[in-house]
Symmetry: C2
Subunit: 374 residues, 2 copies
Amino acid sequence: MNSELLMIPGPVLLHSRVLKAMSRPMINHRSPEFAEVYGECIAILKEVFQTKNDVFVLSGSGTAGMEAAVSNVVDGDDVVTIVNGKFGERFKEIVALYGNPIPVEYEWGNPIELSDVEGALEKGASAVTMVHNETSVGMLNPAKEVGALAKKYDALFIMDGVSSIGGVDVPVDKWGVDIAIVGSQKCLAAPPGLAALAVSEKAWERMKAKSPYYLDLQAYRKYAAKELAQTPYTPAVSLFFGLHEALRMIKEEGMHERIERHRKCAEAVRKAMNAMDMQLFPRLNDVSAYSNTVTAVKMPEGITDKQLRGGMKKRGVLIAGGQAHLKDKIFRIGHMGNVSTKEILVTLEALESTLSELGVNAEGGVAAAKDALK
Amino acid sequence: MNSELLMIPGPVLLHSRVLKAMSRPMINHRSPEFAEVYGECIAILKEVFQTKNDVFVLSGSGTAGMEAAVSNVVDGDDVVTIVNGKFGERFKEIVALYGNPIPVEYEWGNPIELSDVEGALEKGASAVTMVHNETSVGMLNPAKEVGALAKKYDALFIMDGVSSIGGVDVPVDKWGVDIAIVGSQKCLAAPPGLAALAVSEKAWERMKAKSPYYLDLQAYRKYAAKELAQTPYTPAVSLFFGLHEALRMIKEEGMHERIERHRKCAEAVRKAMNAMDMQLFPRLNDVSAYSNTVTAVKMPEGITDKQLRGGMKKRGVLIAGGQAHLKDKIFRIGHMGNVSTKEILVTLEALESTLSELGVNAEGGVAAAKDALK
């Protein structure tokens, strides 16, 4: 049906084991069989999150997870909202529905200054939101440091780990993340449509009486604690089958190995861009601030998004463009989930060939990546 | 893995074509491929809803659909909430989050009196909520009549068709349903995790500025109208593949034939209960008020839910118990989706055998159903 190589920052290609799991016959969602699947998902997710906190899986996208996080602990409160990309903006928009955002904002792709965050927290906000891996610009934001500041000012730290958790080292408890969110379709290499949240004791203490009905974390907690672990509303059972299998594969690989694989793939892509004289977007002094799950690259002068991505698609590789005002300005290569050497090299080969066809001299990428992936 | 016959009122067993569709390789959710799947789903759903209104598919359960309906048009408004079962109560709870419920309430399973609804509407409510097929008690509520009353009093009619649409005749436009909701895992025989809504022009005119971010129908409308039809947030792509195939099967069968099949199966179950001296719950004078997608039956004296359902499970058939205060008082047989003669007879055979083992003399059900299904 479709043999294109999906190298966008989610949804990612699924392993045949995960695809097969989704075609299991339907079961009752309030049965021992479902409780077992749900329970095993939670157990492995706790390892992935590196947390002892409660973990739940919602049947909804990462955005539903972000809204669940905010809406359950914010009710008219001041919330520091850190923004340096599209998903940081989304967090701010969600906070605005439930409380008062105190924005700490930068141009998309500019690094976060911790002094700005501290300055905002000093005024007494009850929480701070941050996107850990800003998918829109390929940046990793300083979660550990913001976690420490949140603790210092007794604010809840709500962190979108949608596209980092499962591919990057994210010690949720150590960093003091009070609500961490991951999306199923990114580094976990599961189908889209599920979001998992880890909720700290401090977050439970500050739960508000009201939240959207569908996203009520207290209902999730109540139903998870039943004799047969379950969800308050009918879950997307087939997606849980897929997630379950994907998580088993993560356990088989080992988180350490998985993180290292993501790191190596990302490094190879960055080295390839360097060899090809392509400019990373943004340009960062601190290399550890580049995302290890998605790389954003400046569009070469005179080339449109349509030309570049069209040429890649013709070669069977799908990459992503820039979002909103970054359309035609950047392109993005996702390298999360099951991606390894083969996919990276095929993608870079297609990129070299596409650019060459478009009259851009950009060679040596494949060679540089090969070298890095040795 | 699982060969039990699932005869609960959703999720239902999926056809192998639907299971297979879900194991299609992942695609970009902002691609022409997804737009085609989404577009075809919408086109067939409009036929199922019998509507010219806008139709959207949300990645969430039927409850998410109910909340999307209420939260987009209610903001402090008075809303008549009709309750005669569990899901009517859920509607009332959701309304209470966004406005002021004016309850028209009955014991679970008691019929709705239209004069009560009219009396409540006279006071000037902006909307009325009703569950069409009350899954918790196996009843069909008077949608056509409540639609007419809503029109008379210029109120929006928000109708939960979660477990009726696709198995029962629901002419949404003719009945004046302003927001109708269906769940994927019931009569549509698709996987759980999606909810579709049909939204009338009158509903659009009364949209409020605020709703939960994830359930914002105006965002769904905006994204559906893009050159490539899409959803505002990452959809549960694999579930859309499943829904797409399930809807194609509905088209192949024909809605008329499908409704007739559901009607016949339900009639056979009711006749079987009668032959077996089992009492339907509730006892209704108007036979057309019995659900054609789920039948509720009084638990025989001295038999517990655990005994009855345990005996059925031992025989490979899963049925549902009563919810909340109806636990141990009733059991429920779902007969929606792909259910036909074979499944009905296997279920009744297991029921006769289970009851006999439990010392209840209840024979003749299979024979009566066979007769009805001729």
